[in-house]
């Protein structure tokens, strides 16, 4: 009788230990997923910075008198590169760059002869794709954050998540500037 009680206790303790190991490993996997997704956003932003000078050179010849647009884009790009690794500064600078590129797009739309040039079309497609890639990288990051946060803050994992140093990650939200520029027409 004595032996069987001890045996049951050992089995329960072993099961609990196994579960904790599994939960810990899962949290580590998810946290690495979040970090990987964050790195992916960086990769895509860098790609966008590299592409912009190309685009500006291609369309500049067609639109000599639209200096201000080009200057805005170049300036925004320089700011974005200089923003460094601070998340808040960086996201503000990147949104400014997005806005400047939007302005350039709008101007290109006003030049029908420019829209017909194939190299411009290709570049425009590349730029659209770059913007999409940044957006999708953010979306993937947010999905990963959601998975990780749910895993580390639900019962019973939350009991020991803090103990091992798992804290919740922050979502990549649109900056205040993005929302201020938005106009809802009803």
């Amino acid at each position: 009788m004595q032996i069987s009680t001890t045996f049951i206790f050992i089995v329960i303790a072993a099961a609990a230990l196994l579960w904790i190991v599994a939960a810990f490993n899962r949290l580590v996997t998810l946290r690495n997923g979040v970090q990987n997704a964050w790195a992916e956003i960086d990769v895509q932003l860098k790609r966008r910075h590299d592409l912009i000078p190309n685009l500006v050179e291609t369309v500049r010849g067609y639109m000599q008198h639209e200096r201000s647009v080009f200057e805005a884009v170049t300036q925004a790009r320089a700011n974005a590169i200089a923003a460094g690794s601070n998340v808040h500064q960086r996201s503000t600078a990147e949104s400014a760059l997005t806005a400047a590129l939007g302005g350039l797009f709008a101007v290109v739309e006003n030049y029908p002869q420019l829209r017909a040039v194939e190299s411009v079309q290709l570049l425009q497609e590349q730029l659209t794709s770059t913007e999409n890639r940044v957006a999708y990288a953010r979306q993937f990051y947010n999905d990963e954050v959601m998975k990780y946060n749910t895993a580390q803050s639900t019962f019973p994992r939350n009991l020991f998540a803090g103990l091992f140093g798992f804290s919740s990650a922050t979502m990549f939200a649109g900056s205040d500037g993005d929302r201020a520029n938005m106009q809802v027409k009803i």
């Binding site: 997923g33 079309q121 497609e125 794709s129 999409n132 890639r133 990288a137 979306q139 993937f140």
Partner: protein
């Protein structure tokens, strides 16, 4: 992009009947539901494999024993085997007879002896099938996807061309959204619009897209299709597809091995497998070889004539032949029993359950695609467009289930060529009613948009809209004036309308025109190479491997899409249910008859085999003593 969706809304509003789901579902919930369903259906597939395995093992096991016994006899003839071996053989035979007696005559038996008997009866067949499965898996995993790419004649996209650059970009974007390494994209220049993800696992996955699809879809729709494929890769569907194919190919290999003593064709296939397994892998030729062998094996599962029938061909008569036929007669029964049970179980049980499993994976990929794009309308519109025409891809027969829409051979509608398109477009423009120009949409330049406009008008016309009917009539007349031969391919709209009201003469005219149309099509097909070649995987299942468009669209609608589908009335469902209730007993009877036939065949083959073996064994024993 917004412009497209606004247009879409306007179109839907003009038609006036939009499917509205009663229960909305988030894509996360849909994914969870389909993942659970995957577990259930995998269990169903496992049960189906066991169900199919029992009769197969019952047939194959005696063959294994027979081969072993004859081998032992031959060895014994030259080098006498120890007596212990023969005692062991006797023991095994006794256990087998215990199991048989329990099965056939309900003799009570010791449970332990029964268990050993069952193991004796089933184990060799199971082991044989398992090793064949391993061989097939290793072989095709090693050959990879190169053979398929060669068969499809695929090429890399040209980055300097706008549409192809767009495709490459969209695939990259979707891979980023899914957090996967971007798969390699290949283009196929074919007439059908279709796409597939091929490979054996996520590591060597390729995305195959036909050039026509890139031309037909806009960026949103292309994004939807690519998201579906990449989500499918990310969910691990390639592994599942690989296993599905391997199951059918294992069955094919089994039949091939059993046929191999009797026909050169089976021997050739076996030799090719050996060759590509031993030293053919790695080279392009080896890959192509593997794909060809896969095709041959999968075809063996169907009930086609092959080597064994040629071997016992009654047309060739000679004394020697009839003696030989008499000696090998039991094999014929065995072969037939195996083929019949393979065909029955794979097409009625295993095939459908695997098809259901595959449907679930498709729904799961759809839900994951919505998570990636957050735009269910893109995928819904793409699916609708792709299903309007057969997305035929030459060389894509061996893996029908991997394609987004079924790459079926043109059965319903011939694709009009450029000149016929022009005729149609002009006629459509001419048929536009002048008086009510405000109510109809302007004629679009795009042929595809025109097609969908035509489909909407036709639906309205059949619903009783006189104005729409007038337009269809005008279209038909102007096409007939421009190109009578082309117009003859379509039914006369007036006939269609009066046939719906029950006009017998109109129905007869319709039937006649349909007949000439299909004759013309079959003539066209016989000229085309490979037109009659059956698709291998789809031939082994009663249920198709592609879920119906309507169900997919309804599921997408629950996740927020606005597809344009007709709603089936409740009455039709009740009628279908009553009819199926009426036919259910007949179906059960048919299934029972088939099972009985298989059982009789198995028993006959077993009896003949035992008699045959006894003769041979006796002969050897006599020879040995003499």
């Amino acid at each position: 992009m917004e412009g497209a969706s606004v247009n879409e809304c306007a179109k839907v509003a003009a038609i006036g009947q939009r499917y509205l789901p009663r229960d909305r579902e988030s894509f996360f919930d849909a994914q969870r539901r389909n993942r659970r369903a995957t577990w259930r259906l995998s269990a169903l597939c496992a049960v189906a494999i066991v169900l199919m395995g029992i009769p197969l093992a019952l047939i194959v096991t005696p063959l294994v024993y027979a081969a072993m016994l004859i081998g032992a006899d031959v060895i014994n003839y030259f080098w006498p085997l120890p007596a212990a071996f023969w005692r062991l053989a006797d023991e095994i035979a006794r256990f087998g007879f215990v199991a048989l007696g329990w099965l056939l005559q309900h003799k009570s038996a010791d449970p332990q002896a029964l268990a050993v008997g069952a193991a004796v009866m089933l184990l060799p067949g199971v082991l044989l099938s398992g090793s064949l499965w391993t061989v097939i898996s290793v072989l095709f995993r090693r050959s990879g996807v190169g053979g398929a790419l060669l068969a499809l004649n695929a090429r890399e996209p040209n980055q300097a061309e706008l549409k192809e650059l767009q495709l490459a970009d969209v695939v990259q974007e979707m891979a980023i959204a899914a957090g996967l390494p971007a798969p390699c994209v290949m283009l196929v220049d074919s007439a059908g619009a279709n796409a597939a993800a091929i490979g054996t696992s996520a590591a060597d996955a390729r995305i195959i897209v036909s050039r026509r699809l890139v031309d037909d879809l806009n960026r949103d729709e292309l994004e939807g299709v690519c998201a579906h494929l990449i989500a499918s890769i990310g969910n691990g569907d390639l592994r599942i597809a690989f296993r599905i194919t391997a199951v059918f190919e294992t069955c094919g290999l089994l039949v091939t091995i059993i046929n191999s003593p009797f026909g050169p064709q089976s021997r050739r296939v076996l030799w090719r497998i050996l060759r590509s397994g031993l030293w053919g892998a790695g080279r392009d030729g080896g890959m192509q070889e593997a794909a060809a062998v896969a095709d041959l094996l999968a075809r063996n599962v169907t009930l086609d004539a092959d080597d064994i029938d040629r071997f016992f061909d009654p047309a060739k008569k000679s004394r020697l032949r009839s003696i030989r036929n008499f000696i090998f007669f039991p094999i014929f029964f065995t072969n037939f029993a195996i083929k019949l049970s393979l065909w029955f179980f794979s097409s009625a049980i295993l095939g459908p359950s695997m098809a259901l499993l595959w449907h679930t994976r498709q729904y799961l990929a759809d839900a994951s695609a919505v998570q990636l794009t957050r735009n269910p309308d893109g995928l819904a519109a793409a699916l609708q467009k792709l299903n309007e025409e057969p997305g035929e891809i030459p060389g894509g027969d061996w893996a029908v289930h991997l394609f987004v829409v079924s790459p079926k051979h043109s059965g319903t509608a011939a694709v009009p060529d450029a000149r016929q398109r022009q005729v149609l477009a002009q006629a459509w423009a001419a048929s536009e009613p002048r008086t009510a120009a405000a109510t109809t949409a302007p004629v679009p330049a795009d042929f595809r948009a025109m097609q969908s406009q035509f489909a909407a008008t036709l639906r309205a016309a059949l619903g009783g809209d006189a104005q729409a009917m007038g337009r269809i009539r005008a279209l038909y007349q102007s096409v007939a004036a421009a190109d009578p031969a082309f117009a003859a391919q379509f039914p006369n709209p007036d006939d269609v309308l009066s046939a719906r009201q029950g006009n017998a003469a109109a129905i007869a005219r319709l039937l006649a025109s349909h007949k000439t149309g299909s004759e013309r099509q079959s003539q066209g097909q016989s000229q085309a190479p490979n037109a009659e070649k059956p698709s291998s995987i789809s031939a082994v299942s009663m249920l198709g491997f592609h879920p119906s468009l309507k169900r997919r669209l309804k599921r997408l609608a629950r996740m927020g899409a606005h597809p344009d589908i007709e709603v089936t009335s409740r009455k039709a469902w009740i009628v279908a249910f009553v009819i199926s209730l009426f036919f259910a007993p007949f179906a059960v009877l048919l299934v029972g008859l088939f099972l009985l036939l298989i059982a009789i065949m198995t028993m006959t083959s077993l009896t003949f085999l035992v008699v045959w073996l006894a003769f041979i064994h006796k002969a050897f024993t006599l020879l040995g003593h003499g």
